[in-house]
C-alpha cells in the first residue's frame, strides 16, 4: 500500500520534469544499446574467425617435427669417456624422412578412440603449376577425400564438380577456386604440375572448391594419397600428417598432449596452431567489456547527478512529506524508484535499440575481398547478452540512485520548514 503511494509520487515527480527524465533515460538507453551492439558484433566476428579457422585447421594435427636438437653428436659419444671437449660448428640435419612411420597403425588405433570423431591421414608437398611458360607456386595434398570431408565438410564448399569424382578418375584433381582462376582452367581441363624434386605429372580437374580463405583457395589442390606418394617417389605407407576431429573440441589441448605422448610424434591442437586468432578473440572480448562498462558507468554518473539535483530541488517536498507522516524508508523508496524507473525504461529501450543496430549491421554487405568469403558483417543474436545488458543497466541505475536516495531520507525537516 505504502509502496504504491510512494511509486505514485515518484511517477508524478518524473512526469513533471519529462525532459530531464528522458535525458537520464537516454543515457542508459545508449549505454545498453552500445553494449548489446558491440558484444553481438564482436562475438559475431569471433565466431566467424573461429569457424573459418576450424574449416581449415584440424582439432588435432599429428606430424613429425624436424628435430633441431644438436646437443648430442657421434663425436661426443665416441669421446665420452676421455677428457676431450667436442665442439661441432654449424651442425645440419642428416637426410631425414619427415613421414610418420606407423601412420596406418596410428589411424586404426585412433578410430577406436571414443573421443575421436574422424581421422584423415594425408601427405602434402610444394608444387609448381604450369601456366604456359609461367610456373605458379602452390600446394598439393594427397588425401582420403571421404575422410577429409568428415573433417571439413568439403562437399558443402564445392563450387563445381563433386568430391566423389576424385575417386572415380585416374589422375583427377580438386583445385581451389582461386588457383583455378589464376590458371584460367575449368572443370574437365588438364593441368600439369611439378614437384621440387623434379617429377611432373598431368591431372584432369574434376572439381573446384572454395573454402573462403584466400590463403587456401589460391594455393591448394586435393588428389588421392597414392598420387602424391608417386610424385614424391615414396612407398605406399608414406604419410606425413594425420588430421583429427574430436567429438568435443574443448578437450583438444588435453587430448593433443595425450596423443603426443602415446604416439611419440608432435600433436598440435587447434588453439596452439591458431594462437593469434584466440588471442585476438580474447582482446576483442576485453575491449567490448571495458567499453560497455565505461558507457554504463558514465550513464550511472549521469543518473547520480540528476538524482542529486532533483533531491536538492525537492528539499521542501521531502520536509513536508516527513511532517505528513512519511517515514525515512518512504522517502528513500520515492527517489530510488525514480532512479529504477529510469533504469528499467532505459534498459528496455536500450535492448530494442541494440537489437535494431545489430540487425542493421547484419545486413550491411561486407566489402568484397578475395581473402575472406563473407557476404555481410558477422553479427550474432543471443538472448543472454540482452538479459545481461538489461540486468547490468538496472543494477547501475540502482547503485546510482541509492546514495542520493539515502541522502534524501536523512533530510532534517525542521531545518527546512523553519526556513
Amino acid at each position: 500500500m505504502s509502496l504504491a503511494i510512494n511509486i505514485g509520487i515518484a511517477k508524478t515527480h518524473l512526469l513533471s520534469r519529462k525532459k530531464q527524465s528522458l535525458i537520464a533515460m537516454l543515457g542508459v538507453t545508449f549505454g545498453i544499446a552500445m553494449f548489446i551492439f558491440m558484444i553481438s558484433f564482436m562475438k559475431g566476428v569471433n565466431e566467424f574467425l573461429s569457424d573459418t579457422m576450424l574449416s581449415s585447421t584440424p582439432d588435432i594435427h599429428i606430424y613429425n617435427d624436424i628435430s633441431t636438437d644438436y646437443s648430442k653428436s657421434i663425436a661426443g659419444e665416441y669421446f665420452r669417456d676421455s677428457s676431450v671437449t667436442v665442439s661441432v660448428s654449424h651442425p645440419k640435419p642428416k637426410e631425414v624422412t619427415i613421414n610418420i612411420k606407423n601412420a596406418y597403425d596410428i589411424v586404426a588405433d585412433l578410430k577406436h578412440d571414443p573421443s575421436v570423431l574422424a581421422v584423415s591421414p594425408y601427405l602434402s608437398t610444394q608444387a609448381f603449376y604450369n601456366y604456359g611458360p609461367v610456373q605458379i607456386n602452390g600446394m598439393i595434398e594427397g588425401v582420403d577425400i571421404l575422410q577429409e570431408d568428415h573433417l571439413y565438410k568439403l562437399h558443402e564448399k564445392m563450387s563445381s564438380g563433386k568430391l566423389e569424382n576424385l575417386l572415380t578418375t585416374d589422375y583427377g584433381i580438386l583445385m581451389g577456386q582461386g588457383l583455378a582462376d589464376k590458371l584460367n582452367v575449368r572443370m574437365g581441363d588438364l593441368v600439369s604440375l611439378a614437384t621440387p624434386n623434379g617429377t611432373s605429372m598431368r591431372f584432369r580437374i574434376v572439381g573446384t572448391f572454395k573454402i573462403g580463405i584466400g590463403q587456401i583457395d589460391n594455393v591448394k589442390s586435393y588428389v588421392n594419397i597414392p598420387t602424391v606418394q608417386q610424385l614424391l617417389e615414396k612407398d605406399r605407407n608414406y604419410i606425413t600428417d594425420i588430421a583429427i576431429k574430436l567429438t568435443n573440441i574443448k578437450y583438444a589441448r588435453a587430448e593433443a598432449a595425450l596423443m603426443s605422448r602415446k604416439y611419440n610424434y608432435t600433436a598440435e591442437d587447434w588453439e596452439t596452431a591458431n594462437s593469434s586468432v584466440t588471442t585476438s578473440n580474447l582482446i576483442r572480448d576485453i575491449l567490448t567489456i571495458v567499453v560497455s562498462v565505461t558507457l554504463l558507468v558514465v550513464a550511472g554518473f549521469g543518473i547520480y547527478n540528476i538524482m542529486n539535483m532533483t533531491i536538492a530541488s525537492k528539499m521542501k517536498d521531502i520536509a513536508i512529506l516527513k511532517a505528513e507522516g512519511f517515514a525515512r524508508r518512504d522517502i528513500a523508496q520515492i527517489f530510488l524508484s525514480q532512479s529504477l524507473a529510469i533504469g528499467i525504461l532505459g534498459a528496455l529501450t536500450g535492448i530494442a535499440l541494440g537489437f535494431m543496430l545489430s540487425y542493421a549491421m547484419s545486413n550491411v554487405p561486407f566489402p568484397k575481398n578475395e581473402f575472406i568469403g563473407l557476404k555481410y558483417f558477422p553479427v550474432i543474436f543471443e538472448a543472454r547478452y540482452y538479459i545481461f545488458g538489461f540486468g547490468f543497466g538496472v543494477l547501475t541505475t540502482f547503485f546510482a540512485g541509492v546514495l542520493p536516495s539515502v541522502k534524501a531520507s536523512k533530510v532534517d525537516p525542521v531545518a527546512i520548514l523553519r526556513g
Binding site: 505504502s2 513536508i320 516527513k322 525515512r328 518512504d330
Partner: protein, 224 residues
C-alpha cells in the same frame, strides 16, 4: 476538558559553535479543543517549542505526551506514523507539493494512513476542500494558486486524517488582512465547533489576543 498534550521540563540547545540554550525548562499542558497561540519575539524560541511539541524535532531533553502516547524516545519511523495519524501541519510558506493537484495534496496523508480506500478518501478530501471553499480548484496544480488559497488547501490537508491536534507555524505570516481573518475564523471554528486542538505560533498580537489562550515565550521561558 481532558488534557491532550503535556510537556515537562523541556530543555533544548542549539549547537552552533557555542551552545545556545533555546528552551529553558518549559512545561505546559494543553486541553482537548483548546485554541492556543504561542507568541514571543524573534529568537524567543516559540518556533523551536512548536517543532519539539510536534515530534518533528527530537533533539531535546524532557518528556512529552500527546493523547495517551509517551512520544519522547520513539523512533523516527514510529514518530512519522504517529504524526500521520494524530497531527496536522500548517506552515508559513504553505508548503504544498507543487507538481500535484490540490486534490492530490489533500489526499496524500490519508493515502499514507491507508485507513480508507481511494474513493472514500477522494470524497472526504473534496468535502474538506468544500469546507475551505476550495473545492472548485480541486484539479488545479497547487503551484497555480495564490498564497491565501494555498494556505486554505494546506488547512484542508491538515484536516484530512481528522487529527487530534493541528500545529501551525505562523500560518498568517505571509497573508493579507482578509486572508488572515479567514484563517483565524477557520481555526476558531475547528476548535469550538469540532473540538479540534490547535497550537499555532504567531507574531500577530491581534490574532493571539483573540485565541483561547496565548503562551508567551521570553528568552526560552514561559512568561507568567
Amino acid at each position: 476538558m481532558a488534557e491532550i498534550l503535556r510537556a515537562q521540563s523541556i530543555n533544548k540547545y542549539f549547537n552552533e559553535g557555542e551552545d545556545f540554550h533555546v528552551l529553558k525548562d518549559v512545561s505546559l499542558s494543553i486541553s482537548q479543543g483548546e485554541f492556543v497561540t504561542i507568541v514571543g519575539k524573534s529568537g524567543s524560541g516559540k518556533s523551536s517549542l512548536l517543532y519539539v511539541l510536534s515530534t518533528l524535532d527530537t533533539q531535546y531533553d524532557g518528556e512529552i505526551s500527546i493523547k495517551d502516547y509517551h512520544v519522547t524516545g520513539l523512533s523516527q519511523n514510529e514518530l512519522a506514523a504517529f504524526r500521520n495519524e494524530h497531527i496536522g501541519f500548517v506552515f508559513q510558506f504553505h508548503f504544498l507539493l507543487p507538481e500535484f493537484t490540490v486534490l492530490e495534496n489533500v489526499m496524500l496523508p490519508a493515502l499514507k494512513l491507508g485507513r480508507f480506500d481511494r474513493d472514500s478518501i477522494e470524497k472526504k478530501a473534496l468535502e474538506k476542500l468544500a469546507e475551505m471553499e476550495m473545492d472548485l480548484f480541486a484539479h488545479k496544480l497547487s503551484s497555480k494558486l495564490s498564497g491565501g488559497q494555498q494556505q486554505r488547501v494546506a488547512i484542508a490537508r491538515a484536516l484530512i486524517n481528522e487529527p487530534d491536534i493541528i500545529m501551525a507555524d505562523e500560518p498568517t505570516g505571509n497573508l493579507d488582512t482578509v486572508n488572515t481573518q479567514t484563517v483565524f475564523n477557520i481555526f476558531n471554528d475547528l476548535s469550538h465547533r469540532y473540538g479540534c486542538t490547535i497550537i499555532t505560533v504567531t507574531h500577530d498580537p491581534d490574532f493571539a489576543a483573540r485565541s483561547d489562550r496565548h503562551i508567551e515565550l521570553v528568552d526560552g521561558r514561559i512568561a507568567e
